[in-house]
């Protein structure tokens, strides 16, 4: 992948070598500068969470003068309810959402990508239109509905929609991937008497682990980060997610325990960061491929 752009510079043979070297140094300089500028706030946050409390507002450096875990202990129990509860809640909601999204979206995507039935094109177009729909348009009736059936103050309004493939983006992502799987495989299986369900289960799903993993990871991260849903549906502190916990922290402490707040902020980013470290290739490819489908 580095070959192609190299050719370009070879062709411009008039440009002397020293100029190319200089350009390369300048480019790297720019990129390194930009990286530092962009990552500085994150590193500062990390450092602030390990700093002694009195140093947080006096230092702009990213290396604390003394390391301390105090803020983490203070923050963990900084509210009436421990952050352990918030983390558990966030994990329950996120993992249930992952299961729901992967199941429901892959079922729908299989139908759109592989099965022949009347009205398929219309349903597919409608599905794509929901991608553009601002969630505010359905928000209030959904809230009224969930309130009527007694689901407010439970996790259900946050989880059940995922089992109904409400995240059209992932259906779209999977349709694109399923279409790339050779149809001969389906046809061979059909010859052997396999029905749609067996083809879906035994052929399509096993061959689609990259896209299923991408959907799972993005679902986890987006659900983990979700603030609006929990904000309107969860009112009891024992049901709070990490994001609601952080928000309550910023309100209730009245700017007193910044160390604890920063420590919990760092902890809340850890799961996302772990996914980033483990799967960044998959995430980046996922973005690049869907982005190309216009």
């Amino acid at each position: 992948m580095t070959d192609a752009p190299m050719k370009l510079t070879v062709v411009g043979a008039e440009t002397p070598l020293w100029r190319k070297r200089m350009m390369s140094v300048i480019s790297h300089g720019l990129l390194i500068g930009a990286s530092i500028l962009m990552l500085y706030p994150l590193l500062w946050l990390l450092a602030a969470s390990f700093r002694p409390e009195n140093e947080i507002f006096t230092s702009a450096s990213i290396i604390p003068s003394a390391w301390s875990l105090d803020a983490y202990f203070r923050g963990w129990n900084g509210l009436r309810t421990s952050f352990g509860v918030f983390f558990t809640n966030s994990f329950i909601i996120s993992i249930a959402s992952v299961i729901g999204n992967v199941m429901a979206c892959s079922l729908a995507a299989y139908a759109f990508a592989r099965l022949e039935f009347r009205g398929r094109k219309i349903w597919f177009a409608l599905m794509l239109m929901t991608l553009m729909l601002p969630y505010q348009v359905t928000l209030i009736p959904q809230y009224v509905l969930f309130r009527q059936i007694g689901w407010v103050d439970t996790f259900l309004p946050l989880i059940v929609p995922k089992f109904l493939a409400a995240d059209a983006f992932f259906i779209f992502l999977m349709v694109q991937f399923f279409r790339g799987i050779p149809r001969e495989l389906d046809e061979a299986a059909m010859m052997d008497g396999a029905g749609p369900w067996r083809i879906y289960w035994k052929i399509i799903l096993p061959l689609s682990t990259p896209v299923l993993a991408t959907a799972a990871i993005f679902t986890f991260i987006w659900t983990w980060d979700d603030f609006f849903g929990p904000l309107i549906y969860l009112n009891r502190m024992s049901d709070y997610t990490v994001m609601l916990g952080l928000r309550t922290f910023t309100d209730s402490t009245g700017l007193s325990d910044y160390g604890g707040l920063f420590a919990m902020s760092v902890l809340s980013l850890v799961p996302i960061f772990v996914f980033f470290l483990m799967f960044q290739r998959l995430l980046i490819e996922g973005i690049a491929t869907t982005g190309m489908k216009r």
């Binding site: 930009a34 962009m38 601002p134 348009v137 109904l164 980060d225 491929t289």
Partner: protein, 313 residues
């Protein structure tokens, strides 16, 4: 064995039921696989959409039944609601500045990276990280701190002897801190630009530079035209995202949209009306105006796209 049955059943000429069986055999599996999506589509999307359109013509406080109000909500919005006007101004300002700047950064860095730089995967990952983390409440909290009066930005400015204001509590700058936060997350459009740049055939550049076209000219005559489909895609996605943005403004202003409504995003105002004042009818009307705005923007982009988006094939 079942396949055999399927093939022979219609020819056997079983009357009446066979029509339904054929329909079932042809369409049944598709609709079965779509069943969860159908329930969601009708129960959570289409149904609520219709219902919210109805509610937008009512006064509804969640406790008593909706009272028909005709076009009152819409009239009030456009004639007698300074907060609506403010939130519209704030949101438009945010969209108009954050989206082009974000895309410009994304494209600039993508082009720099596409020169066959060593360490591309590392740079790409580093620039992508803020996009991945940025939606979090934790980042909004961090931002509030960075741009506070005694925050990180002013620490740096003080090195040069400049005494910076408290950026987030100054209505002249507060919205800009949110725009900077949006630009900071240029990583995901950058990745899409990179993928697009890869698709441009290298021989076009070779031919151009043999003809003596400068790099600057090559950018305007080759790169940008061939990249317009990607620009188009990114612009639409990012604009819709910008319209929907909620969390940063909520956290940075403590849910108020202050100072003096300078960070009162449209979505934040809608939230206040719905869940702060329980004016569900009015909030529904706000939601439909937002939908109309997004729809008009999208339609406009698609209609004008044939004049500036370059599609080969």
């Amino acid at each position: 064995m079942t396949v055999q049955n399927v093939a022979t059943a219609p020819q056997a000429g079983v009357p009446k039921t066979s029509v339904w069986r054929r329909i079932w055999q042809q369409d049944g599996p598709g609709y079965l696989f779509l069943l969860p999506w159908f329930i969601g589509f009708f129960g959570l999307t289409l149904g609520p959409m219709i219902s919210s359109l109805y509610l937008s013509f009512t006064h509804f406080d969640l406790l008593t039944a909706p009272r028909w109000a005709g076009v009152d909500n819409y009239v009030r919005m456009f004639t007698n609601d300074p907060k609506f006007a403010a939130s519209m101004r704030v949101t438009m300002f945010f969209v108009i500045f954050s989206v082009p700047l974000k895309l410009a950064f994304a494209l600039g860095v993508a082009m720099l990276l596409n020169r066959g730089m060593k360490g591309l995967p590392l740079y790409r990952a580093l620039f992508y990280l803020p996009s991945l983390l940025g939606a979090s409440v934790a980042i909004a909290i961090l931002w509030r701190q960075i741009f506070a009066g005694d925050g990180l930005v002013n620490k740096f400015l003080s090195i040069f002897g400049i005494v910076g204001p408290s950026w987030i509590s100054n209505p002249n700058y507060s919205l800009w801190t949110l725009i900077v936060l949006a630009i900071w997350q240029f990583g995901s459009p950058m990745i899409i630009f990179l993928a697009g740049l890869r698709q441009i055939p290298q021989d076009m550049y070779e031919a151009a530079s043999l003809d003596g076209a400068s790099k600057w000219r090559q950018f305007w005559k080759i790169t940008l035209p061939l990249l317009t489909p990607v620009v188009f895609f990114n612009a639409i996605i990012q604009t819709i995202e910008a319209f929907k943005s909620f969390t940063p403004a909520f956290i940075i202003s403590g849910g108020t949209g202050n100072p003096i409504n300078s960070t009162l995003f449209y979505t934040l105002y809608l939230y206040q009306e719905a869940f702060g004042f329980f004016r569900m009818g009015y909030a529904s009307a706000l939601a439909w105006v937002l939908l109309a705005l997004v729809a008009v923007f999208t339609a406009f982009s698609f209609l004008t796209s044939k004049y500036w988006v370059h599609y080969d094939d």
